[in-house]
């Protein structure tokens, strides 16, 4: 049963392996950086992520967590640019 199943799935596994091997590492780097960039853009499209106003005062822009997230993703991108 184990051998039969492995033989059945082997052609698919080999095809997928050839497929991923055909992607150059430079393109892979772009994909990784693209994911981080896409997340940063998505974060900026969210509604403001600030704390509840205290005494009717609107919290400052730098308490907005969207900017924290974008900063985090930018820092992360640097590592994938370097290495």
């Amino acid at each position: 049963m184990r051998d039969w199943l492995a033989e059945l799935l082997k052609p698919l596994a080999e095809w997928l392996f050839v497929l991923v091997m055909s992607v150059p590492l430079s393109v892979v780097r772009l994909i990784f950086l693209g994911i981080l960039a896409a997340l940063a853009i998505w974060a900026l499209t969210l509604p403001p992520q600030r704390p509840e106003p205290v005494d009717g005062k609107k919290p400052s822009w730098f308490t907005d967590l969207r900017f924290f997230a974008v900063g985090l993703l930018l820092l992360q991108s640097i590592f994938y640019l370097i290495f």
């Binding site: 199943l5 492995a6 991923v20 990784f32 981080l36 985090l72 993703l73 994938y80 290495f83």
Partner: protein
């Protein structure tokens, strides 16, 4: 005195003893404020974001990672850093803005409890059992890794080390619950950062700097990829880019940061929804430094000790050979901090799951809050004992870190699929979730059984997690579409679209 064996000088023993006594006393003191089950399991839902973020991170980097990641870096290079970078940051950002707010608003104790409300009681119980059993095995692994390092470092007997850690963690988790865990974890996080950077700094000084490190490692031959984060899938590592992208970034990492009870439980204890989100992003920021602390010593160790039989020996070897008395005590305390922070988290979460999702559901339903707090404490003690007895089983697996990931990947993928669909797709229902979970686990189990005949990568747990996730996702969608949808009133407030419209934050 028995503790003077091996490399530890008196000053090191004093530092370690003060550290262990200090956290135990502090944990017992915090226990004075614990009156209800909500206090014990969720710190009264009043914990600060900075402590939660530090606790999340330090819980994630147990001794398991100090030993295992440094060992993987020694053997395979910096590609292992993907686990803490692309394998954490994106998932943490998504968790902060989408998933954590829903859990927090739902005022649940556990992730299975959320799934129970979204789907049904069976899903809740099944997921709680999976996590509950997994946590017990993890406790065994944590105890074993601690004992291994202590044994290499200073010759302490394995059994003595296991019992020492079990006693300290058992006492303060028993008394202080999650509040003690989180506050002590934040102290341990500071100690861990200090200790890790000490050993990194000394190792790099011995090597002669980064340029020298690169020259030495590349000169060894066959180590050309040791400084590449992205490596080809045909390299003999478990970290080819394809499995990192599909298995880690898309499945195991999100599953961990938004589905792992030991992690999410902290966010549920935040003072406000805003603080819950902030704690995750703060944790993400700290995560950026982890590979520098863990992978750095592993690769520097390769330059200094190229002939080690096992990669997992590198971290203890560095402590033993490079550090003078006094610093050994600090670094060793950092190691203990890493270990203890993971053990306490899994211990407290195991007690929470078994109390809230099993005991309260099936054994004693309508008891007082104090009753469930006592049950949580009793289970904490029981699980310490179980962890101690499970520790020797871990010895049979050569790569500790891979072992943990293997266990995780069996059910993390399918679990993630039902969490994502539950939150983002109104049409997903209980029958679909059960089918998706079962078929997903069956898929990963089958692939593990034939992995040697199917995959070229060693320890292909990331690929397996990806396929199990897909199996769970497709099955949940198909079965949900073929069966009756959940009533709208049942899922109100539990599905993304219904809450996003309100744009409620803070």
């Amino acid at each position: 005195m028995e503790l003077s064996v091996g490399r530890l000088a008196t000053i090191d023993v004093v530092i370690i003893a003060v550290y262990l006594a200090g956290i135990t006393i502090l944990g017992v003191w915090i226990g004075r404020f614990i009156k209800t089950d909500e206090d014990f399991f969720l710190g009264g839902r009043n914990l600060p974001w900075w402590a939660i973020g530090m606790s999340m991170v330090v819980s994630d980097i147990g001794a398991l990672e100090l030993v295992g990641v440094a060992g993987m870096a020694y053997t395979y290079g910096i590609a292992v850093a993907n686990f803490d970078w692309i394998g954490c940051i994106p998932a943490m950002v998504v968790a902060a803005f989408i998933f954590i707010p829903y859990y927090w608003r739902a005022k649940v104790f556990t992730v299975p409890e959320y799934l129970g409300r979204r789907y049904n009681q069976f899903v809740r119980s099944l997921v709680a059992l999976l996590w509950g059993v997994f946590f017990l095995f993890m406790l065994g692994i944590f105890f074993y890794t601690a004992a291994l390092t202590m044994n290499i470092l200073c010759g302490w007997p394995m059994t003595f080390s296991i019992i020492l850690i079990a006693t300290v963690v058992g006492i303060y988790t028993f008394f202080g619950g999650l509040a003690a865990v989180v506050f002590l974890d934040s102290i341990q996080c500071v100690i861990l950062f200090i200790g890790s950077f000490i050993i990194l700094g000394i190792a790099m000084f011995k090597v002669g700097g980064y340029s020298q490190l690169v020259d030495m490692v590349t000169a060894m031959g066959g180590k050309g990829q040791h400084f590449n984060l992205l490596v080809s899938p045909d390299t003999p590592t478990p970290f080819g880019w394809a499995c990192v992208l599909f298995g880690l970034t898309f499945v195991l990492s999100p599953a961990y940061w938004l589905g792992n009870q030991a992690i999410v439980q902290r966010n549920l204890a935040a003072r406000s929804e805003y603080e819950a989100k902030k704690s995750v992003l703060w944790g993400g920021f700290l995560k950026l430094f982890i590979p520098i602390m863990l992978v750095g010593p592993g690769i520097a160790g390769l330059a200094l000790y190229p002939e080690l039989a096992k990669g997992d020996d590198i971290f203890p070897t560095l402590i033993r050979d490079l550090l003078p008395p006094g610093l050994v005590g600090i670094v060793f305390a950092a190691f203990l901090a890493a270990l203890i922070s993971s053990v306490d988290s899994y211990l407290n979460s195991a007690a929470t799951l078994w109390t809230k999702d099993i005991y309260q559901q099936f054994i004693r339903r309508d008891k007082s809050q104090r009753h469930y707090m006592i049950v949580g404490r009793v289970l904490t003690l029981v699980f310490v004992v179980i962890g101690v007895f499970l520790a020797p089983i871990t010895e049979k697996f050569p790569h500790i870190f891979g072992y943990m990931q293997t266990m995780l990947s069996i059910f993390q993928g399918p679990l993630l699929s039902i969490i994502i669909l539950g939150l983002l797709w109104r049409r997903a229902n209980g029958k679909g979730a059960i089918a998706g979970l079962c078929l997903g686990v069956a898929t990963s189990s089958t692939l593990f059984a034939i992995q040697d005949k199917l995959f070229t990568a060693p320890e292909p747990f990331l690929y397996i997690a990806w396929w199990a996730f897909l199996a769970g996702l497709v099955t949940t969608v198909v079965v949900s579409l073929l069966t009756k949808p959940e009533p709208p009133e049942k899922i109100e407030g539990l599905v993304y679209s219904s809450v996003r419209k309100s744009k409620k934050v803070g």
